[in-house]
């Protein structure tokens, strides 16, 4: 089959957008969380910077930083949470704190805080606040207060917020996928049923599909399928009727042709003419036989078989009658035809006319191909539960590669004789309609066994 299965496609198209949306949502949540964390950190940094700035008292010579132990405690609140600060005036001259803190990339107006990231040497978040130092007449009255805090705790916070949102979301996704999968399965069940019905049927079964409680879409499909099956059935019936009618129509002119050639053969004395007439006669006989076989074949179609009379068939009697009927013809062909009833009293359920036809075809084949002087035996026996009807000959036998092929239509074992190549195909059709099988086996030391295996009544 071409393309992905419907089940897989539905699953893909339902789950793929969900996963994409989930990823987008998770990313968005992370961004939001990290912004909130940034804001929190920035606010506390600014608070610390302002607090520090408040402790700076301008003096005549410059300024004085009154950093009481309590304030220092605030700055070093958490040993894990590293905090740095720097007070400089003018902005490039460090007066207090850590000289490693870099200045902001762009100077900000007085009183406006600038937030930025720096690496000293670990990643840190820095706030820089430029203030006007109160003392008049001072050389440079700008004071810069910088406070920095390690970024690690902030990242940790953001990560935790992400985890808190992503985890429940993931569980939700998993549960939903399961639900979708189950839903698709349930929804596609009528289709699977339809598939199973179509796959399970014989090639020639044309009865309508039956679905229990199918949804309208699948019901419509099944309906369309049934309509098609009905049409095929109808055209098959037409074809069958045509073959049957044509065969009937052909019989009379063929009988005329055959009789006329027989008469001509009686009168003809010229050997060359006789030879030609014999060919015409042979061809007429073969055509007549083909027509008869076509009729039988039309009769072996399932419907035709079902319409015929089924009864308990006495195999002993069938074998004896058919063989007795064929003895004169076998003798004329130089064959010794006999019957061997190994297990008497076998019966099968079937259409006697058709079973007779099958056996006739096997004997006809044996007489035709075993050759002059051959011994042909029709043997009836029981094998387990089955009934075996064998036609065994001690002729040249059949090449192994031809044995299976011989049951196909229009395959002939030899170019000689009047065989039309339908005989064994008919035999197979007939026994299969009876729930049995037909096969060709080699006989010892040479020859062929044509075996019909039929289920017992």
């Amino acid at each position: 089959m071409n393309g992905r299965s419907l089940h897989r496609q539905l699953l893909l198209w339902l789950l793929l957008p969900q996963v994409v949306l989930w990823l987008v949502a998770a990313f968005g949540a992370y961004r939001l969380a990290s912004r909130h964390a940034d804001e929190l950190v920035d606010a506390s940094l600014l608070q610390a910077a302002r607090a520090l700035a408040r402790q700076i008292k301008p003096t005549a010579s410059g300024f004085f930083v009154d950093l009481p132990p309590s304030a220092q405690d605030i700055l070093a609140a958490d040993p894990e949470d590293r905090v740095m600060y720097r007070v400089s005036s003018p902005p490039d001259q460090v007066r207090l704190g850590d000289a490693r803190l870099p200045p902001p990339s762009q100077p900000a107006p007085l009183g406006e805080p600038v937030f930025y990231d720096a690496t000293v040497p670990e990643p840190m978040r820095v706030v820089s606040l430029d203030l006007h130092l109160g003392a008049p007449g001072a050389v440079d009255s700008t004071l810069r207060v910088q406070v920095a805090r390690a970024s690690a705790p902030r990242d940790l916070l953001a990560r935790r917020m992400l985890l808190d949102t992503a985890l429940p979301l993931s569980i939700l996704i998993a549960l939903m996928s399961l639900g979708v999968w189950a839903g698709i399965r349930k929804g596609l069940k009528p289709l699977a049923e339809l598939q199973a019905q179509m796959e399970g049927r014989r090639a020639d079964a044309l009865d309508p599909v039956e679905l229990r409680a199918a949804p309208p879409e699948v019901g419509a499909l099944a309906g369309a399928l049934n309509e098609l099956l009905g049409q095929v059935q109808q055209s098959l019936n037409t074809q069958r009727r045509f073959i049957s009618d044509a065969a009937h129509q052909l019989r009379t002119p063929l009988a005329g042709l055959k009789s006329q050639t027989e008469l001509a053969l009686e009168a003809a004395t010229d050997p060359a003419l006789r030879q030609r007439l014999e060919r015409v006669h042979e061809s007429a006989v073969r055509s007549a036989r083909l027509v008869s076989q076509l009729l039988v074949l039309a009769r072996t179609d399932p419907e035709a078989v079902a319409a015929q009379e089924w009864a308990l068939v006495d195999c002993d009697q069938l074998v004896r009658e058919v063989a007795a009927e064929w003895v004169p013809r076998a003798l004329a062909a130089g064959c010794d035809l006999g019957v061997d009833i190994v297990d008497a009293g076998q019966r099968v359920q079937g259409v006697e006319l058709l079973l007779r036809e099958a056996l006739v075809n096997l004997i006809d084949n044996a007489v035709r191909y075993a050759g002059r002087g051959a011994t042909i035996t029709v043997r009836l026996r029981r094998a387990g539960d089955d009934v075996w009807m064998d036609v065994e000959d001690n002729g040249p036998g059949l090449a192994p590669e031809l044995r299976a092929q011989a049951f196909e239509r229009f395959v002939r074992g030899s170019a000689l004789g009047e065989g039309c190549g339908l005989g064994l195909a008919i035999v197979r059709e007939i026994v299969e309609r009876h729930g049995g099988s037909a096969e060709l086996r080699p006989a010892a030391p040479h020859g062929c066994i044509a075996r019909l295996t039929l289920p017992p009544s």
Binding site: H248, Q249, R251, T252, P253, L254, A255, G256, L257, K258, S259, Q260, E262, L263, E266, A284, V285, A288, S292, L295, R299, Q308, E309, R320, A323, A324, V327, P328, L331, D336, L337, G338, V339, D340, I341, L353, T377, V378
Partner: protein
């Protein structure tokens, strides 16, 4: 022997007429059902061959009407149809035998003779190769030499000659004897074989089926 041939296919009718003529029948040909019915009602025939697919009046109707008119001559139905139900309908309508097209002429001839024999008492003398059977006197001779036959041997020979070239089953022999003595059949066959030596006829054993009287190759 007068024979009516009712067949609409000119080619087949022409050939059949000639073949029947060669087999010493006197043939009258009817090419449609109406003519066939008229001839069958007005003339006396020993036997008739009737095609079922005749124009104007179909064969089955002809058959019914002729039987209703009280004609009892043996009629062999010839047809291109062969399904079982057609066979049954044909025989129910009063046909004595049934043959599907195409057929072998020897078979048609044999059936015609069998039909006519059935209508006549089987008391005539019969010649087969060197064997002569006088059924009225229940006597047989080979090349003029009388053959001594016990009643069972006679019944056996009579049956084999009647069914010559066809298989005679043990059940048929037992039925002809009127007593269940199947075990001794082989003994009688053996005796009969010896008595038939030099007659140009031989009794062949057909494995699992029975016996068959055939002409020996000379």
């Amino acid at each position: 022997m007068n024979l009516l041939l009712a067949e609409d296919d000119a080619l087949l009718a022409d050939a059949l007429q000639q073949q029947l003529l060669n087999a010493s029948f006197k043939v009258e040909w009817a090419e449609n059902g109406a003519v066939a019915e008229y001839l069958l009602r007005k003339q006396d025939f020993d036997v008739a061959i009737l095609d079922l697919g005749l124009p104007m009046v179909d064969g089955l109707t002809v058959l019914k009407r002729v039987r209703e008119a009280g004609r009892t001559l043996p009629i062999l139905v010839l047809t291109a149809l062969d399904a079982l139900e057609h066979r049954v309908t044909g025989l129910q309508a009063g046909a004595d035998d049934y043959l599907t097209k195409p057929f072998d002429f020897p078979e048609l001839e044999a059936r015609l003779h069998a039909l006519m024999r059935r209508g006549r008492p089987a008391s005539q003398a019969q010649q087969l190769r060197k064997l002569t059977l006088d059924r009225a006197a229940r006597r047989a001779n080979i090349g003029g030499e009388p053959v001594e036959l016990s009643p069972r041997e006679w019944a056996l020979l009579d049956l084999l000659v009647t069914e010559r070239d066809h298989v005679v089953t043990k059940a048929q022999i037992v039925a002809a004897w009127g007593a269940d003595e199947g075990g001794s059949i082989e003994v009688y066959i053996h005796r009969l074989r010896r008595k038939l030596e030099g007659s140009g006829l031989a009794v062949r054993t057909v494995r699992g089926l029975g016996y068959l009287l055939e002409a020996t190759v000379q």
